[in-house]
Subunit: 351 residues, 2 copies
């Protein structure tokens, strides 16, 4: 593998993004600066606001350059509207810094559709990759699992799914530290005959491939939470439905639990005694702990934070960017795609 | 509406189906017989085994006719294998009794694919319905919601989705007792521009339609658990992924909760004090409480119970069959489809 070792990673941060605004984004960058002593920042947004926040964080200030702009992409902007402001908005300028090579990754907590459109337009897909995919970590009973695509592509063909599998495995090797991640395609049954033609064809291609992963065939939605596979591959529609349904169900069960504890003085006492353990449960499921979805497959790294993330959440998203830079995930993906192409069966049967 | 009032409903029960076997199925039928004094049963399976179980349940025995067969569809049988045994298997014979008019609904806890194939082959779709859909109830923070299709159709066009919406609304009116259910299409965003062409087209058709429902546009996966809509409409692939992911996440959170309570003697004491409330929480989420998925859109009712359902679970599935019979859900669907066709906009824009 022909990786350039990056020892002084630089992150371009869209300071104006996220529900918490610049105060939260800057505080998050400061947490990340403490965690990663070699990491430095390019900060994009309103200079006066950034300066006021940086004054509170001298450690971060010493490792940051500020780039002023008044233009901010709103959560309500359509991707087409945002694209026109690629050079003027804090989001667009952060991506531009990755394109020009000044930064190794861009991080934003802003409008997902706009971020995706700008990132794709500016950075283009890597050789061998037809479409980028949005990947993130989901909590399970065991270790976290990678799920992709989470919404970048509404419809996917077999080649797209195979590329997602390669990218997801590379991501898992970096972020989960696994040598040979277990990879499966999300499906409505585990038998070979189940699912769409695209999925069956992708499975046939992955079964025959010589890749640094353990291909496990199909997995159903109820198995994601068990953590029996490390990478769950699906199209962006189903992936988004699965991710959101999992988040919603988590909230539902925790909401019902809160009601249950409120039901009598006895259960309230029970709650007081169990509080510490319940806090640990909530922490395990907290989206902030798993924050940082990555657009994989572009010529440059772009990390999306939850809009509602807190300081720790955005710091985790910056941490994901840091790890992917240092581990040269892009080089891993190119390498695996090249090796896969070389070994691709001439006529993979649509099993 | 031209409904024949059915005052003496008859359910055809596939006694040999389900993980619990005939003992659980017969005990379940007895619970249902107690709940619904006018309900009677046709029982299909091994006569000797059924007779032995019926001896324990004289109330049920007095209201049952037994039809002997040795042939049982296995969970591992492919739909094509099962289809060949439509006349000889307990599952096929139960469906046959609906076709011949001897029973008003068939209930089975067996192989879903086989049940669907046999039901479609024997009963055919209703006029105006191109494909049947599998519908079931999901627990939410408020009332239960209907979700369909849960896996009968891997891919769907706009017409299918519109028909599912009509059928799901009719189902909600019967099972949830709502006059004007709120109906939404499952999507990856709530904005009109989001999603596949099929979904956008279905939304345009439903927006203009004069139907006994409140069409709410799009809903995302994380909103299912909130219970803000009564009917969630989607294709069988996404619906199955959403249902299974919700089940898996429920189990994940409850598993983590059990671990949390086990972590110290203090939390164990907390658990003891909160036990009653936690039992209520588990009951709210218990699949047995929501058991009974229905194949809608056929010329006859077929209800699928969870294979792992207990006596109470299968009794609930029989209860769903009972309510749908008494409420003439089939007539409701025909009526609504006919009225929808009459009002269908000549050229619905693909918004």
């Amino acid at each position: 593998m022909n990786a350039k070792l990056i020892t002084a990673p630089v992150v371009a941060l869209d300071v104006m993004s996220g529900d918490g605004g610049p105060a939260v984004a800057i505080a998050a960058a400061d947490i990340a600066a403490e965690r990663y002593p070699r990491l430095s920042f390019l900060l994009f947004g309103k200079e006066a606001v950034i300066a006021a926040e940086l004054a509170k964080h001298p450690r971060l200030a010493a490792r940051s350059k500020v780039f002023h702009t008044d233009d901010v992409v709103l959560m309500t902007d359509k991707p087409s509207q945002a694209l026109r402001r690629s050079r003027t908005s804090s989001m667009g300028m952060a991506i531009g810094a990755v394109k020009s090579g000044e930064a190794h990754a861009a991080v934003s907590a802003g409008n997902t559709g706009a971020l995706m459109a700008m990132a794709l337009f500016a950075l283009r897909t890597m050789p061998g990759i037809d479409r980028p995919a949005l990947a993130a970590l989901l909590p399970t009973l065991k270790n976290d699992s990678v799920v992709l695509d989470l919404g970048a592509n509404t419809e996917c063909d077999a080649d797209n799914l195979v590329q997602f599998a390669v990218m997801g495995a590379a991501f898992a090797r970096t972020v989960l530290g696994l040598e040979r991640p277990r990879v499966a395609l999300l499906n409505i049954g585990e038998e070979e005959m189940k699912g769409t033609e695209e999925i069956k064809e992708a499975a046939a291609m992955l079964r025959g491939a010589d890749l640094p992963m353990q291909f496990e065939g199909f997995v159903e939605g109820d198995k994601i939470g068990q953590g029996d596979v490390d990478v769950v591959v699906t199209d962006g529609f189903s992936g988004n439905i699965a991710l959101k349904t999992a988040e919603g169900t988590s909230r539902l069960v925790i909401g019902l639990l809160a009601n249950a504890f409120r039901s009598s003085w006895l259960t309230q006492l029970g709650y007081l005694l169990s509080r510490g353990a319940l806090r640990a449960l909530r922490a395990h499921l907290d989206p902030n702990a798993h924050n940082g979805a990555v657009f994989l497959g572009l010529n440059g790294l772009v990390v999306k934070s939850h809009g509602s993330a807190n300081e720790r959440g955005i710091a985790n998203a910056i941490g994901v960017a840091h790890d992917l830079i240092v581990d040269s995930v892009g080089t891993r993906i190119s390498h695996d795609m090249a090796s896969f192409k070389a070994h691709r069966p001439a006529d993979a049967p649509a099993a």
